[in-house]
Amino acid sequence: MDDRPHRNDDVMAAVARDRGAALGAYAYLLTGDLRDAEDLVQDALVKTFVRGRRIELSSAEGYVRTVILSTWIDTYRRRRHWERVRHLVARGDRQDGPAEVVGARSDVQAALAQLSPQQRACVVLRFYDDLTVPEIAERLGLAPGTVKRYLSVAVGRLESLLGPLAESETTVLLNQGDAR
Protein backbone atom coordinates (compact mmCIF):
# COMPACT_ATOMS: atom_id res chain seq x y z
CA MET A 1 0.00 0.00 0.00
CA ASP A 2 1.27 3.42 -0.93
CA ASP A 3 1.34 5.52 2.19
CA ARG A 4 2.77 8.66 0.64
CA PRO A 5 -0.40 10.69 1.03
CA HIS A 6 -0.49 9.84 4.70
CA ARG A 7 3.09 10.73 5.20
CA ASN A 8 2.59 13.93 3.28
CA ASP A 9 -0.39 14.69 5.43
CA ASP A 10 1.79 14.34 8.46
CA VAL A 11 4.28 16.75 6.94
CA MET A 12 1.47 19.10 6.08
CA ALA A 13 0.16 19.01 9.61
CA ALA A 14 3.62 19.61 11.02
CA VAL A 15 4.22 22.57 8.73
CA ALA A 16 0.80 24.02 9.46
CA ARG A 17 1.21 23.56 13.20
CA ASP A 18 4.82 24.57 13.64
CA ARG A 19 5.34 27.08 10.84
CA GLY A 20 1.82 28.32 10.27
CA ALA A 21 2.39 31.58 12.09
CA ALA A 22 5.59 32.31 10.18
CA LEU A 23 3.90 31.48 6.90
CA GLY A 24 1.00 33.70 7.87
CA ALA A 25 3.37 36.54 8.62
CA TYR A 26 5.05 36.05 5.27
CA ALA A 27 1.70 36.08 3.52
CA TYR A 28 0.72 39.17 5.47
CA LEU A 29 3.69 41.05 4.10
CA LEU A 30 2.22 40.43 0.67
CA THR A 31 -1.46 40.92 1.36
CA GLY A 32 -1.49 43.51 4.13
CA ASP A 33 -4.63 41.85 5.42
CA LEU A 34 -4.68 39.15 8.06
CA ARG A 35 -7.64 37.23 6.73
CA ASP A 36 -6.29 37.33 3.21
CA ALA A 37 -2.99 36.10 4.60
CA GLU A 38 -4.65 33.24 6.43
CA ASP A 39 -6.58 32.27 3.31
CA LEU A 40 -3.44 32.51 1.23
CA VAL A 41 -1.60 30.15 3.58
CA GLN A 42 -4.50 27.69 3.52
CA ASP A 43 -4.64 27.78 -0.28
CA ALA A 44 -0.90 27.34 -0.54
CA LEU A 45 -0.89 24.39 1.82
CA VAL A 46 -3.68 22.72 -0.13
CA LYS A 47 -1.91 23.29 -3.43
CA THR A 48 1.38 22.04 -2.06
CA PHE A 49 0.11 18.87 -0.49
CA VAL A 50 -2.84 17.87 -2.61
CA ARG A 51 -0.67 15.83 -4.94
CA GLY A 52 0.89 12.60 -3.85
CA ARG A 53 4.38 13.92 -4.44
CA ARG A 54 6.76 13.22 -1.59
CA ILE A 55 7.81 16.33 0.27
CA GLU A 56 10.42 16.27 2.97
CA LEU A 57 9.70 18.18 6.12
CA SER A 58 12.94 20.09 5.79
CA SER A 59 12.00 21.55 2.44
CA ALA A 60 8.25 21.79 2.85
CA GLU A 61 8.17 25.32 4.21
CA GLY A 62 10.16 26.54 1.24
CA TYR A 63 7.69 24.91 -1.12
CA VAL A 64 4.78 26.50 0.65
CA ARG A 65 6.39 29.93 0.60
CA THR A 66 6.93 29.60 -3.12
CA VAL A 67 3.32 28.61 -3.63
CA ILE A 68 2.19 31.52 -1.46
CA LEU A 69 4.10 33.84 -3.73
CA SER A 70 2.93 32.30 -6.99
CA THR A 71 -0.66 32.22 -5.78
CA TRP A 72 -0.40 35.86 -4.82
CA ILE A 73 0.94 36.79 -8.25
CA ASP A 74 -1.39 34.52 -10.20
CA THR A 75 -4.44 36.07 -8.62
CA TYR A 76 -3.29 39.56 -9.43
CA ARG A 77 -6.11 40.20 -11.81
CA ARG A 78 -8.69 39.13 -9.34
CA ARG A 79 -7.21 41.43 -6.75
CA ARG A 80 -7.09 44.19 -9.26
CA HIS A 81 -10.81 43.88 -9.61
CA TRP A 82 -11.33 43.60 -5.90
CA GLU A 83 -13.02 46.93 -5.56
CA ARG A 84 -15.67 45.82 -7.97
CA VAL A 85 -16.37 42.41 -6.58
CA ARG A 86 -15.54 42.71 -2.93
CA HIS A 87 -19.18 42.44 -1.91
CA LEU A 88 -19.34 39.01 -3.53
CA VAL A 89 -16.68 37.50 -1.39
CA ALA A 90 -17.54 35.49 1.68
CA ARG A 91 -15.80 37.32 4.41
CA GLY A 92 -16.38 39.95 6.97
CA ASP A 93 -14.72 43.27 7.28
CA ARG A 94 -11.13 43.77 6.34
CA GLN A 95 -8.66 42.79 9.01
CA ASP A 96 -5.85 45.21 8.72
CA GLY A 97 -3.66 43.37 11.13
CA PRO A 98 -1.55 44.52 13.97
CA ALA A 99 -1.02 48.06 12.74
CA GLU A 100 -2.04 49.48 16.06
CA VAL A 101 0.57 47.45 17.87
CA VAL A 102 3.36 47.99 15.41
CA GLY A 103 2.81 51.73 15.61
CA ALA A 104 6.04 52.96 14.26
CA ARG A 105 5.81 50.58 11.32
CA SER A 106 2.30 51.49 10.26
CA ASP A 107 3.83 54.10 7.98
CA VAL A 108 5.68 51.37 6.11
CA GLN A 109 2.56 49.22 5.99
CA ALA A 110 0.61 52.11 4.54
CA ALA A 111 3.34 52.72 2.00
CA LEU A 112 3.44 49.06 1.02
CA ALA A 113 -0.28 49.21 0.40
CA GLN A 114 0.38 51.78 -2.29
CA LEU A 115 2.47 49.34 -4.31
CA SER A 116 1.17 47.07 -7.01
CA PRO A 117 1.19 43.36 -6.15
CA GLN A 118 4.24 42.78 -8.32
CA GLN A 119 6.12 45.66 -6.78
CA ARG A 120 5.18 44.51 -3.33
CA ALA A 121 6.24 40.95 -4.05
CA CYS A 122 9.58 42.19 -5.34
CA VAL A 123 10.08 44.33 -2.25
CA VAL A 124 9.32 41.42 0.07
CA LEU A 125 11.59 39.06 -1.83
CA ARG A 126 14.35 41.62 -1.96
CA PHE A 127 14.25 43.07 1.52
CA TYR A 128 12.66 40.32 3.57
CA ASP A 129 13.82 37.16 1.82
CA ASP A 130 17.08 38.90 0.91
CA LEU A 131 17.10 37.51 -2.61
CA THR A 132 19.10 38.91 -5.46
CA VAL A 133 17.45 40.33 -8.54
CA PRO A 134 18.18 37.21 -10.63
CA GLU A 135 16.76 35.06 -7.85
CA ILE A 136 13.63 37.20 -7.66
CA ALA A 137 13.31 37.04 -11.42
CA GLU A 138 13.51 33.27 -11.34
CA ARG A 139 11.07 33.02 -8.47
CA LEU A 140 8.50 35.24 -10.17
CA GLY A 141 9.12 34.06 -13.72
CA LEU A 142 10.07 37.56 -14.82
CA ALA A 143 13.02 39.01 -16.69
CA PRO A 144 15.67 40.51 -14.40
CA GLY A 145 15.11 43.85 -16.09
CA THR A 146 11.47 43.73 -15.19
CA VAL A 147 12.32 42.99 -11.58
CA LYS A 148 14.72 45.92 -11.52
CA ARG A 149 12.03 48.15 -12.91
CA TYR A 150 9.53 46.99 -10.32
CA LEU A 151 12.03 47.51 -7.54
CA SER A 152 13.07 50.86 -8.85
CA VAL A 153 9.51 52.09 -9.09
CA ALA A 154 8.66 50.56 -5.72
CA VAL A 155 11.58 52.19 -3.95
CA GLY A 156 10.77 55.48 -5.60
CA ARG A 157 7.21 55.23 -4.43
CA LEU A 158 8.23 54.19 -0.93
CA GLU A 159 10.65 57.10 -0.72
CA SER A 160 7.99 59.50 -1.87
CA LEU A 161 5.88 58.34 1.05
CA LEU A 162 8.46 57.55 3.69
CA GLY A 163 11.32 59.80 2.85
CA PRO A 164 14.77 58.47 2.03
CA LEU A 165 15.30 54.76 2.56
CA ALA A 166 18.38 53.46 4.29
CA GLU A 167 21.38 54.13 2.11
CA SER A 168 22.32 50.49 1.67
CA GLU A 169 18.95 49.73 0.14
CA THR A 170 18.96 52.42 -2.50
CA THR A 171 22.61 51.75 -3.20
CA VAL A 172 21.85 48.15 -3.88
CA LEU A 173 19.26 49.18 -6.40
CA LEU A 174 21.44 51.76 -8.03
CA ASN A 175 24.10 49.12 -8.36
CA GLN A 176 21.69 47.01 -10.37
CA GLY A 177 20.44 45.21 -7.31
CA ASP A 178 21.96 41.89 -8.26
CA ALA A 179 24.27 41.45 -5.34
CA ARG A 180 23.36 41.12 -1.72
Partner: protein
Protein backbone atom coordinates in the same frame (compact mmCIF):
# COMPACT_ATOMS: atom_id res chain seq x y z
CA UNK B 1 16.46 60.27 9.04
CA UNK B 2 16.06 57.35 6.67
CA UNK B 3 13.72 54.40 6.72
CA UNK B 4 15.17 50.92 6.95
CA UNK B 5 12.76 48.78 4.97
CA UNK B 6 14.48 45.56 5.96
CA UNK B 7 14.00 46.19 9.63
CA UNK B 8 10.51 47.46 9.09
CA UNK B 9 9.51 44.30 7.22
CA UNK B 10 11.05 42.16 9.94
CA UNK B 11 9.10 44.02 12.60
CA UNK B 12 5.84 43.86 10.65
CA UNK B 13 6.28 40.15 10.07
CA UNK B 14 7.11 39.57 13.72
CA UNK B 15 3.97 41.39 14.82
CA UNK B 16 1.83 39.64 12.23
CA UNK B 17 3.17 36.31 13.38
CA UNK B 18 1.63 36.98 16.74
CA UNK B 19 -1.66 38.16 15.29
CA UNK B 20 -2.34 35.60 12.59
CA UNK B 21 -4.65 32.77 13.58
CA UNK B 22 -3.39 29.22 13.66
CA UNK B 23 -4.00 27.20 10.53
CA UNK B 24 -7.29 25.35 10.82
CA UNK B 25 -5.98 21.83 10.43
CA UNK B 26 -9.36 20.17 10.19
CA UNK B 27 -10.42 22.48 7.40
CA UNK B 28 -7.09 22.07 5.68
CA UNK B 29 -7.28 18.27 5.78
CA UNK B 30 -10.87 18.37 4.59
CA UNK B 31 -9.98 20.58 1.62
CA UNK B 32 -7.07 18.39 0.65
CA UNK B 33 -9.22 15.28 0.85
CA UNK B 34 -11.93 16.86 -1.28
CA UNK B 35 -9.44 18.02 -3.86
CA UNK B 36 -7.90 14.58 -4.07
CA UNK B 37 -11.31 12.98 -4.42
CA UNK B 38 -12.34 15.43 -7.07
CA UNK B 39 -9.07 14.93 -8.87
CA UNK B 40 -9.74 11.21 -9.08
CA UNK B 41 -13.25 11.80 -10.41
CA UNK B 42 -12.06 14.34 -12.93
CA UNK B 43 -9.43 12.01 -14.23
CA UNK B 44 -11.91 9.22 -14.57
CA UNK B 45 -14.22 11.24 -16.80
CA UNK B 46 -11.60 12.55 -19.12
CA UNK B 47 -10.30 15.67 -17.51
CA UNK B 48 -13.31 17.92 -17.37
CA UNK B 49 -12.34 20.21 -14.56
CA UNK B 50 -14.81 22.89 -13.73
CA UNK B 51 -15.20 23.55 -10.06
CA UNK B 52 -18.48 24.79 -8.77
CA UNK B 53 -17.41 28.22 -7.73
CA UNK B 54 -15.97 29.00 -11.15
CA UNK B 55 -18.99 27.69 -12.94
CA UNK B 56 -21.13 29.76 -10.65
CA UNK B 57 -19.18 32.88 -11.44
CA UNK B 58 -19.35 32.37 -15.17
CA UNK B 59 -23.04 31.71 -15.03
CA UNK B 60 -23.63 34.78 -12.99
CA UNK B 61 -21.59 37.00 -15.19
CA UNK B 62 -23.51 36.17 -18.29
CA UNK B 63 -20.78 34.33 -20.11
CA UNK B 64 -22.12 32.33 -22.99
CA UNK B 65 -25.32 32.62 -24.92
CA UNK B 66 -28.43 33.50 -23.02
CA UNK B 67 -31.87 34.21 -24.38
CA UNK B 68 -32.62 37.75 -25.40
CA UNK B 69 -34.65 39.90 -23.05
CA UNK B 70 -38.34 39.52 -23.62
CA UNK B 71 -38.97 43.20 -23.56
CA UNK B 72 -37.28 46.54 -23.71
CA UNK B 73 -38.70 48.62 -20.90
CA UNK B 74 -38.17 52.34 -21.16
CA UNK B 75 -37.14 54.41 -18.19
CA UNK B 76 -37.73 58.07 -17.63
CA UNK B 77 -35.90 60.60 -15.54
CA UNK B 78 -38.26 60.46 -12.58
CA UNK B 79 -40.19 57.60 -11.06
CA UNK B 80 -43.45 57.01 -12.86
CA UNK B 81 -45.68 53.98 -13.16
CA UNK B 82 -44.14 51.34 -15.38
CA UNK B 83 -45.88 49.96 -18.42
CA UNK B 84 -46.22 46.60 -16.73
CA UNK B 85 -48.04 46.94 -13.44
CA UNK B 86 -46.91 44.83 -10.57
CA UNK B 87 -49.65 42.35 -9.84
CA UNK B 88 -48.77 41.13 -6.38
CA UNK B 89 -51.52 40.95 -3.80
CA UNK B 90 -51.31 43.73 -1.30
CA UNK B 91 -52.23 41.69 1.74
CA UNK B 92 -49.37 40.35 3.74
CA UNK B 93 -48.91 36.66 4.26
CA UNK B 94 -49.95 35.47 7.70
CA UNK B 95 -47.17 36.06 10.13
CA UNK B 96 -45.12 38.14 7.72
CA UNK B 97 -43.24 40.94 9.37
CA UNK B 98 -42.90 43.88 6.97
CA UNK B 99 -39.37 45.01 6.34
CA UNK B 100 -37.88 48.05 7.95
CA UNK B 101 -37.44 51.41 6.23
CA UNK B 102 -37.38 52.17 3.38
CA UNK B 103 -39.72 49.24 2.71
CA UNK B 104 -43.12 50.55 1.72
CA UNK B 105 -42.10 54.17 1.47
CA UNK B 106 -42.41 56.29 -1.64
CA UNK B 107 -39.03 56.40 -3.32
CA UNK B 108 -37.90 59.78 -4.54
CA UNK B 109 -35.05 59.61 -6.99
CA UNK B 110 -32.41 62.22 -6.51
CA UNK B 111 -29.63 61.32 -8.92
CA UNK B 112 -26.23 62.09 -7.51
CA UNK B 113 -23.00 61.60 -9.41
CA UNK B 114 -20.03 61.45 -7.10
CA UNK B 115 -16.86 62.56 -8.88
CA UNK B 116 -14.69 59.75 -7.51
CA UNK B 117 -16.87 56.70 -7.56
CA UNK B 118 -19.26 54.83 -9.76
CA UNK B 119 -22.13 52.52 -8.93
CA UNK B 120 -22.59 49.77 -11.48
CA UNK B 121 -24.27 46.42 -11.91
CA UNK B 122 -27.76 45.02 -12.15
CA UNK B 123 -30.31 42.85 -10.45
CA UNK B 124 -30.57 39.28 -11.63
CA UNK B 125 -33.56 37.03 -11.08
CA UNK B 126 -32.79 33.37 -10.69
CA UNK B 127 -32.70 30.27 -8.60
CA UNK B 128 -30.12 29.03 -6.14
CA UNK B 129 -29.20 25.39 -6.59
CA UNK B 130 -28.33 24.33 -3.07
CA UNK B 131 -26.52 21.23 -4.28
CA UNK B 132 -24.05 23.08 -6.47
CA UNK B 133 -24.34 26.45 -4.68
CA UNK B 134 -24.79 28.03 -8.07
CA UNK B 135 -27.28 30.76 -8.82
CA UNK B 136 -28.61 30.49 -12.36
CA UNK B 137 -30.59 33.14 -14.21
CA UNK B 138 -34.30 32.42 -14.40
CA UNK B 139 -36.86 35.24 -14.65
CA UNK B 140 -39.37 33.04 -12.88
CA UNK B 141 -36.90 32.15 -10.16
CA UNK B 142 -37.43 32.57 -6.47
CA UNK B 143 -34.32 34.61 -5.77
CA UNK B 144 -32.72 37.89 -6.65
CA UNK B 145 -29.02 38.43 -6.86
CA UNK B 146 -27.95 42.01 -6.35
CA UNK B 147 -24.92 42.18 -8.58
CA UNK B 148 -24.46 45.83 -7.76
CA UNK B 149 -21.17 47.29 -6.72
CA UNK B 150 -19.26 50.46 -6.15
CA UNK B 151 -16.05 51.08 -8.00
CA UNK B 152 -13.84 54.04 -8.71
CA UNK B 153 -14.94 56.66 -11.19
CA UNK B 154 -11.93 55.80 -13.30
CA UNK B 155 -10.40 52.30 -13.32
CA UNK B 156 -7.32 52.13 -11.16
CA UNK B 157 -7.99 55.38 -9.36
CA UNK B 158 -8.95 55.64 -5.70
CA UNK B 159 -12.68 55.40 -5.15
CA UNK B 160 -12.67 58.18 -2.60
CA UNK B 161 -14.36 58.10 0.75
CA UNK B 162 -13.03 55.77 3.39
CA UNK B 163 -12.67 52.85 1.01
CA UNK B 164 -15.72 51.06 2.28
CA UNK B 165 -19.04 50.60 0.55
CA UNK B 166 -22.48 51.21 2.02
CA UNK B 167 -24.67 50.33 -0.90
CA UNK B 168 -28.44 50.03 -0.88
CA UNK B 169 -30.45 48.66 -3.78
CA UNK B 170 -34.20 49.20 -3.98
CA UNK B 171 -36.91 47.91 -6.29
CA UNK B 172 -39.72 50.36 -6.79
CA UNK B 173 -43.18 49.32 -7.94
CA UNK B 174 -45.48 51.05 -10.41
CA UNK B 175 -46.74 53.35 -7.69
CA UNK B 176 -43.26 54.52 -6.83
CA UNK B 177 -43.17 52.57 -3.59
CA UNK B 178 -40.26 50.49 -2.37
CA UNK B 179 -41.27 46.86 -2.73
CA UNK B 180 -37.87 45.41 -1.98
CA UNK B 181 -34.59 46.66 -0.64
CA UNK B 182 -31.25 45.12 0.23
CA UNK B 183 -32.11 44.62 3.86
CA UNK B 184 -29.07 42.97 5.48
CA UNK B 185 -31.39 41.18 7.88
CA UNK B 186 -33.00 39.31 4.99
CA UNK B 187 -29.95 38.14 3.13
CA UNK B 188 -30.15 34.53 2.03
CA UNK B 189 -27.57 32.60 4.06
CA UNK B 190 -24.74 31.39 1.92
CA UNK B 191 -24.58 27.70 1.21
CA UNK B 192 -21.61 25.52 0.40
CA UNK B 193 -21.73 23.17 -2.55
CA UNK B 194 -22.02 19.49 -1.80
CA UNK B 195 -18.57 18.86 -3.21
CA UNK B 196 -17.07 21.55 -1.03
CA UNK B 197 -15.60 23.36 -3.99
CA UNK B 198 -17.46 26.60 -3.64
CA UNK B 199 -20.16 28.53 -1.93
CA UNK B 200 -23.01 30.64 -3.13
CA UNK B 201 -22.49 34.30 -3.84
CA UNK B 202 -23.41 36.89 -1.29
CA UNK B 203 -26.11 39.48 -1.96
CA UNK B 204 -28.76 36.85 -2.60
CA UNK B 205 -32.31 37.43 -1.42
CA UNK B 206 -35.66 35.75 -1.70
CA UNK B 207 -37.65 37.46 -4.43
CA UNK B 208 -40.44 38.58 -2.16
CA UNK B 209 -42.20 41.85 -1.57
CA UNK B 210 -40.87 43.27 1.67
CA UNK B 211 -44.34 44.57 2.54
CA UNK B 212 -46.25 41.34 2.12
CA UNK B 213 -43.86 38.44 1.90
CA UNK B 214 -45.44 37.48 -1.40
CA UNK B 215 -43.39 36.83 -4.54
CA UNK B 216 -42.39 39.86 -6.56
CA UNK B 217 -44.45 40.02 -9.74
CA UNK B 218 -44.29 42.39 -12.69
CA UNK B 219 -41.83 45.14 -13.45
CA UNK B 220 -39.88 47.21 -10.97
CA UNK B 221 -37.52 50.07 -11.44
CA UNK B 222 -34.19 49.60 -9.73
CA UNK B 223 -32.17 52.21 -7.92
CA UNK B 224 -28.87 51.94 -6.13
CA UNK B 225 -27.57 54.37 -3.54
CA UNK B 226 -24.01 54.43 -2.28
CA UNK B 227 -24.03 56.28 1.02
CA UNK B 228 -20.25 56.51 1.22
CA UNK B 229 -20.17 58.82 -1.76
CA UNK B 230 -22.85 59.63 -2.13
CA UNK B 231 -24.01 58.44 -5.51
CA UNK B 232 -27.48 57.41 -6.60
CA UNK B 233 -28.19 55.82 -9.97
CA UNK B 234 -31.03 54.11 -11.71
CA UNK B 235 -30.15 50.65 -12.95
CA UNK B 236 -31.96 48.54 -15.50
CA UNK B 237 -35.51 47.61 -14.44
CA UNK B 238 -36.40 44.02 -13.76
CA UNK B 239 -39.48 42.06 -14.67
CA UNK B 240 -40.42 38.96 -12.70
CA UNK B 241 -42.24 36.11 -14.42
CA UNK B 242 -41.66 33.51 -17.11
CA UNK B 243 -41.08 36.17 -19.78
CA UNK B 244 -39.20 38.44 -17.46
CA UNK B 245 -35.72 39.82 -17.36
CA UNK B 246 -32.73 37.74 -18.26
CA UNK B 247 -29.12 38.93 -18.22
CA UNK B 248 -28.12 40.81 -21.36
CA UNK B 249 -26.43 38.69 -23.96
CA UNK B 250 -22.78 39.74 -24.17
CA UNK B 251 -22.54 38.57 -27.81
CA UNK B 252 -19.03 37.30 -27.19
CA UNK B 253 -18.80 35.64 -30.59
CA UNK B 254 -18.90 38.93 -32.46
CA UNK B 255 -16.67 41.06 -30.24
CA UNK B 256 -13.10 41.90 -31.26
CA UNK B 257 -10.74 38.99 -30.69
CA UNK B 258 -7.34 39.22 -29.07
CA UNK B 259 -4.49 38.96 -31.54
CA UNK B 260 -6.66 39.81 -34.52
CA UNK B 261 -7.64 43.04 -36.27
CA UNK B 262 -10.80 44.79 -35.18
CA UNK B 263 -13.64 43.35 -37.28
CA UNK B 264 -14.84 45.55 -40.09
CA UNK B 265 -18.62 45.50 -39.89
CA UNK B 266 -21.63 47.54 -40.83
CA UNK B 267 -22.19 49.99 -38.03
CA UNK B 268 -25.78 50.35 -36.96
CA UNK B 269 -24.56 53.01 -34.56
CA UNK B 270 -21.44 55.15 -34.71
CA UNK B 271 -19.71 56.08 -31.48
CA UNK B 272 -17.97 59.42 -31.11
CA UNK B 273 -15.91 60.95 -28.34
CA UNK B 274 -16.42 64.41 -27.01
CA UNK B 275 -14.06 66.59 -29.11
CA UNK B 276 -12.68 68.04 -25.88
CA UNK B 277 -11.49 64.64 -24.66
CA UNK B 278 -7.71 64.24 -24.83
CA UNK B 279 -6.31 60.75 -24.53
CA UNK B 280 -2.60 61.48 -24.37
CA UNK B 281 -2.06 60.42 -20.75
CA UNK B 282 -4.30 57.48 -19.99
CA UNK B 283 -3.74 55.32 -16.91
CA UNK B 284 -2.70 51.77 -17.78
CA UNK B 285 -5.53 50.44 -15.63
CA UNK B 286 -8.28 51.64 -17.93
CA UNK B 287 -10.52 54.57 -18.72
CA UNK B 288 -13.98 55.99 -18.30
CA UNK B 289 -15.32 58.24 -21.04
CA UNK B 290 -18.61 59.79 -22.06
CA UNK B 291 -19.47 59.05 -25.67
CA UNK B 292 -22.21 59.89 -28.10
CA UNK B 293 -23.93 57.09 -30.00
CA UNK B 294 -25.62 58.03 -33.29
CA UNK B 295 -27.93 55.83 -35.25
CA UNK B 296 -26.94 55.02 -38.82
CA UNK B 297 -29.91 52.76 -39.33
CA UNK B 298 -32.53 53.95 -41.83
CA UNK B 299 -35.37 53.27 -39.42
CA UNK B 300 -36.33 53.82 -35.83
CA UNK B 301 -34.49 51.88 -33.16
CA UNK B 302 -35.39 51.49 -29.53
CA UNK B 303 -33.66 49.71 -26.73
CA UNK B 304 -31.81 50.00 -23.51
CA UNK B 305 -28.48 51.78 -23.25
CA UNK B 306 -25.70 49.47 -22.05
CA UNK B 307 -24.16 50.56 -18.78
CA UNK B 308 -20.79 50.60 -20.48
CA UNK B 309 -19.81 50.06 -24.09
CA UNK B 310 -16.96 47.67 -24.71
CA UNK B 311 -13.66 49.00 -25.95
CA UNK B 312 -10.30 47.54 -26.94
CA UNK B 313 -6.79 48.82 -27.47
CA UNK B 314 -5.17 48.15 -30.82
CA UNK B 315 -1.42 48.31 -31.36
CA UNK B 316 0.53 49.90 -34.20
CA UNK B 317 0.10 46.76 -36.28
CA UNK B 318 -3.66 46.99 -36.04
CA UNK B 319 -3.92 44.04 -33.67
CA UNK B 320 -6.24 43.90 -30.68
CA UNK B 321 -4.15 43.76 -27.50
CA UNK B 322 -6.79 43.94 -24.76
CA UNK B 323 -9.83 41.85 -24.01
CA UNK B 324 -13.16 43.28 -25.14
CA UNK B 325 -15.25 41.55 -22.51
CA UNK B 326 -14.51 41.65 -18.82
CA UNK B 327 -15.85 38.49 -17.22
CA UNK B 328 -15.46 39.92 -13.76
CA UNK B 329 -17.67 42.86 -14.56
CA UNK B 330 -20.10 41.11 -16.88
CA UNK B 331 -22.68 42.88 -18.95
CA UNK B 332 -25.32 45.21 -17.56
CA UNK B 333 -27.92 47.45 -19.08
CA UNK B 334 -28.42 50.89 -17.63
CA UNK B 335 -31.53 52.60 -16.41
CA UNK B 336 -31.65 54.70 -19.57
CA UNK B 337 -33.35 53.82 -22.83
CA UNK B 338 -32.83 55.06 -26.38
CA UNK B 339 -35.42 55.74 -29.04
CA UNK B 340 -33.78 57.21 -32.13
CA UNK B 341 -34.25 57.59 -35.84
CA UNK B 342 -31.53 57.99 -38.46
CA UNK B 343 -28.99 60.51 -37.24
CA UNK B 344 -30.48 60.60 -33.80
CA UNK B 345 -28.10 60.32 -30.85
CA UNK B 346 -28.02 59.31 -27.23
CA UNK B 347 -25.34 59.53 -24.56
CA UNK B 348 -23.49 56.49 -23.33
CA UNK B 349 -20.28 55.66 -21.49
CA UNK B 350 -17.19 53.60 -21.98
CA UNK B 351 -15.88 52.19 -18.72
CA UNK B 352 -13.19 49.64 -19.37
CA UNK B 353 -10.31 48.04 -17.55
CA UNK B 354 -7.43 47.33 -19.89
CA UNK B 355 -7.02 43.58 -19.63
CA UNK B 356 -4.07 42.51 -21.74
CA UNK B 357 -4.58 39.52 -24.00
CA UNK B 358 -3.14 36.24 -22.84
CA UNK B 359 -2.46 34.74 -19.45
CA UNK B 360 0.22 37.19 -18.45
CA UNK B 361 0.81 37.35 -14.73
CA UNK B 362 1.82 40.97 -14.84
CA UNK B 363 -1.63 41.89 -16.03
CA UNK B 364 -0.95 45.38 -17.29
CA UNK B 365 -0.89 46.82 -20.74
CA UNK B 366 2.43 48.44 -21.54
CA UNK B 367 2.84 52.16 -21.83
CA UNK B 368 2.87 53.60 -25.30
CA UNK B 369 0.69 54.65 -28.20
CA UNK B 370 -2.44 52.70 -29.13
CA UNK B 371 -5.70 53.19 -30.91
CA UNK B 372 -8.87 52.89 -28.89
CA UNK B 373 -11.82 51.24 -30.60
CA UNK B 374 -15.25 51.27 -29.07
CA UNK B 375 -17.05 48.17 -30.24
CA UNK B 376 -20.23 46.80 -28.86
CA UNK B 377 -23.27 44.76 -29.79
CA UNK B 378 -26.59 45.22 -28.06
CA UNK B 379 -30.25 44.67 -28.79
CA UNK B 380 -32.50 47.17 -30.51
CA UNK B 381 -36.10 46.90 -31.64
CA UNK B 382 -36.90 48.33 -35.06
CA UNK B 383 -40.61 48.17 -34.43
CA UNK B 384 -41.03 44.53 -35.28
CA UNK B 385 -41.31 43.67 -31.61
CA UNK B 386 -38.34 41.37 -31.81
CA UNK B 387 -35.12 43.05 -30.66
CA UNK B 388 -32.13 42.13 -32.79
CA UNK B 389 -28.41 42.60 -32.18
CA UNK B 390 -26.99 45.85 -33.51
CA UNK B 391 -23.39 46.94 -33.74
CA UNK B 392 -22.08 50.18 -32.32
CA UNK B 393 -18.51 51.09 -33.16
CA UNK B 394 -16.18 54.03 -33.06
CA UNK B 395 -12.53 54.64 -33.63
CA UNK B 396 -9.69 54.58 -34.06
CA UNK B 397 -9.13 57.13 -31.32
CA UNK B 398 -5.38 57.67 -30.78
CA UNK B 399 -4.43 57.17 -27.17
CA UNK B 400 -1.26 57.12 -25.12
CA UNK B 401 -1.04 54.87 -22.08
CA UNK B 402 1.24 55.60 -19.19
CA UNK B 403 2.24 52.99 -16.66
CA UNK B 404 1.15 53.62 -13.11
Amino acid sequence: MSTDVRNALDEIAAQAQGAVRAVDLDRLRSRVRRRRTQGAVVRSVGGLAVVGVVAASLTLLGDGPVPAPAEVPVATATPTPSTTPSAGPTTALPGWVPGGAPCGSVFALEPVDHPELEVQGSVMIGTLDRQTAMFGPDPAGSGVYLNVFTTSEVPGQPAGGDGTSDLTTVLVDDEGTVAFWSDPARLTPRVESADGQGSSVSNLYDAVDCRTGRPLVGTYRVFAHEANGPETVELAPVTFGPNGTRPPNPFLDVLPVCGQPVPDVVRDFTVALDPAVVLDDVDDAGLHLPVTVTSADPGRLRGRVPQSLHAVLVDADGIVVTEAFDRLVGRHDSGAAFDVRTGGSFPAEVFTWFRPCGPTPTGTVGSGAYDLYVYDVFLADDGSGVPTPRTAAGGPFPLTVRER
